[in-house]
Amino acid sequence: MQIPAHKIKFLASVLLILGCTLDPTNSFDVGTDPTYDLGEVPQSTKIISADIDTLIKSVTLNMDVTVGAMYTIHLMHPLGGDPLAVTGFTATTELVTIELDYSTISDGLYDIVLIDTQGNSTRIPILLER
């Protein structure tokens, strides 16, 4: 069974219209909003250590980062999904210590993920149990 010629013509017309309706140039610039300063380009995104106060579910995170760069710390379920807690900061020193309050988080095993503005990340497991 062959496709009738009129069907091929119709198909070609549809594809031609489809091709023509796609804008070959940038239709509008959605570049970064200038009011949002993303800081320095991160050169280092490392977690050095994590100290856990299990009694109050507080985690003291020590990190090796880039001065002036922005970072975000996510508390995640082990296999991913949406973050349970988010903490952002701009590094003022290369070695940054941040205390994370996870007192409202249920007991369990989680990941702490440090992410820079380039999307580079590093993670460590963390056991929160009173």
């Binding site: 062959q2 239709s27 922005m70 082990p78 380039q118």
Partner: protein, 578 residues
């Protein structure tokens, strides 16, 4: 003394870079259904102060139940755990989840694999992820040693006789020391294994029909769902569906006397896409991509102007033409190439019925380009119609059926059985890991600062010129809405197929005059955030459904820098006062 210093100098870096090692003691265990299986995860401390080991295993929960996890006896000769140690374990189970392998997460360093972890969830899926977080509290001035650490005890479920078993995989294991944090950890580098295969005996019965269906290495068995239908023949006509046999991911099938009768004539057909064919559209989208179209169109355009004969440059075997004959006219004509492009563009669908194109292996590999359209040339070898198989059962499986199949339209056989000879053009299906002929595609993560998000696809073709490209991006529709695509190759004909949470797109140089090379951005996808863009946290994933075609119409590979694009709103980085 100088020699001593030299010796120390040589030894010191070794000690500083010492890594602990975790490994499975065995890679093969034989057991019967209902038995329990024990497998040891062992540890080589290698002069570290390890106090925690974090494991990630995957296995078939439908075949094995983890009934116990225990530590080696402290102080025993074979144990890595010294006398006086106390242990604790956190055990998490994630049914339906499975590890998605990549080059980055299948290294011999467990910490690296953890950093690059990637999972997929299937509702009710047969696999499970088991996370085990094992902690030891050691006597003062004592460390773990080398030997057995933790025992996993599985019970084998009462599976069907032809159940296809998969291995137990240790996806990662890495250690935490009390003086150096989380450590790079060898996973079965110097000894042991990272996976263990269980051979299950018992439950088998006499087999009447045994064979293989040749499946491609990249097959998604949950998508393809190959099943063999056994019709009992009456007066040489297939009359009653007697049995449907699922083919496992290894392509092996076997049928017992309880499923079909001895000394009886059957005709066997192959069915793909599930009982109601729900997966057929996905199979076609996966199997038929831009390089199938470019290969077919190239072959068609090169036919002799005087004789009309094809020159068999792209299609070297009859099965290529059979796959290209999507309108089943027993010829290769403009209707075929038109329908192929319509399928790629998502405008029209290639017809694929419940009875799929199955051939004897011997026919599949040898049918020539001259005789592929002559049904008799196939039926001389394979009775039962072009795609059926007549078979007479004996009292035992005296014959083995070796079968192959192709998806109509999959002319380069990327999602069909492989030929015993080279496929047309490049032989492999496009994926992120390919050999010498490939292009690079770079994708970048973004900090989101407005509700409009643009994702450019940066392509570097090196010395190659390309004439077609296609990708598929999966996104969370509760967070993003696909808006449009900017086309950077304006002379090509583009196509977009946007479904809920999935956009398939590409473009083809149909005029065959505007092949592109070098560095360029053929596509930029534009999304709009559903909620406040400054708060968004989401990821876009590229599926394996991607393809590229060279100027000559051959399929070439795609090397991605990442198959994930991370989008994080600005507020997630802003100082939060913690």
């Amino acid at each position: 003394m100088k020699k001593l210093f030299l010796l120390l100098a040589l030894l010191l870096p070794t000690q500083l870079s010492a890594q602990p090692e975790v490994y499975l003691e065995t890679n093969g265990i034989t057991a019967a259904r209902g038995d329990t299986i024990e497998i040891w995860a062992n540890f080589n401390n290698n002069n570290t102060q390890t106090r925690t080991i974090y494991f990630d295993f995957s296995y078939q929960r439908t075949a094995f139940s983890l009934v116990d996890v225990s530590f080696a006896t402290a102080g025993a000769d074979s144990s890595a755990i010294p006398t006086g140690t106390t242990t604790s374990l956190t055990n998490l189970n994630f049914p339906g989840w499975n590890w998605v392998k990549s080059t980055a997460n299948t290294t011999t360093n467990g910490l690296t694999n953890y950093q690059n972890m990637n999972y997929a969830y299937t509702n009710g899926g047969p696999y499970t992820i088991r996370r085990l977080y094992a902690t030891v509290s050691l006597p003062t001035n004592t460390n773990l040693g080398t030997g057995r650490f933790m025992k996993l005890k599985f019970e084998v479920q009462n599976t069907a006789h032809d159940f296809v078993y998969d291995s137990l995989y240790m996806n990662f294991a890495f250690a935490n020391s009390n003086n150096a944090g989380w450590l790079a950890t060898n996973n079965a580098v110097s000894t042991g294994y990272r996976s263990a295969f269980f051979t299950i005996t018992g439950g088998t019965a006499d087999v009447l029909v045994y064979g293989t269906l040749d499946l491609p290495s990249n097959v998604n068995i949950d998508l393809l769902q190959p099943r063999l239908k056994f019709f009992e023949k009456y007066n040489n006509v297939p009359d009653t569906l007697r049995h449907t046999e699922s083919v496992g991911s290894n392509g092996i099938f076997s049928v017992t006397p309880t499923e079909v009768d001895t000394d009886t004539d059957y005709r066997i057909y192959l069915s793909l896409g599930g009982a109601s064919g729900d997966s057929i559209p996905s199979i076609l989208n996966t199997a038929i991509t831009v390089s199938d179209f470019t290969a077919a169109e190239t072959e068609f355009s090169w036919q002799s102007l005087t004789t009309g004969n094809f020159v068999d440059t792209m299609f070297t075997k009859g099965v290529h033409y059979m796959a290209a004959d999507v309108n089943d006219s027993r010829g290769f004509d403009p209707g075929d190439t038109g329908t192929l492009f319509a399928q790629v563009a998502g405008v029209e669908t290639v017809e694929m019925t419940d009875t799929s194109q199955m051939l004897l292996k011997s026919v599949f590999d040898t049918v020539s380009t001259a005789y592929w359209r002559v049904a008799d040339s196939i039926l001389d070898t394979q009775t039962g119609g072009p795609y059926g198989m007549d078979f007479h059962t004996d009292t035992t499986a005296t014959d083995t059926l070796n079968l192959k199949y192709f998806i109509p339209g999959d002319v380069n056989l990327s999602y069909s059985s492989a030929l015993a000879v080279n496929n047309p053009g490049a032989q492999a299906r496009a994926s992120s890991v390919l050999d010498n002929t490939s292009i690079d595609v770079n994708l970048n993560n973004l900090v989101v600062t407005s509700n409009s998000v643009e994702i450019p696809f940066e392509v570097s073709t090196g010395d190659h010129e390309i004439s077609a490209l296609q990708f598929e991006v999966l996104y969370d529709p509760s967070k993003l809405r696909f808006e449009t695509m900017d086309l950077g190759v304006s002379s090509w004909v583009a196509f977009i197929d946007n479904q809920e949470g999935r956009v398939r797109f590409g473009a083809v140089d149909r005029a065959r005059e505007f092949a592109m090379g070098g560095d360029f951005v053929p596509f930029s996808l534009k999304f709009v955030t559903i909620n406040n863009p400054l708060d968004i946290v989401t990821q876009l994933h590229l599926s394996s459904n991607m393809d590229a075609s060279s100027k000559s119409g051959h399929q070439i590979g795609i090397t991605l820098n990442s198959n994930t694009i991370r989008l994080i709103g600005y507020n997630n980085y802003a100082n939060s006062g913690s």
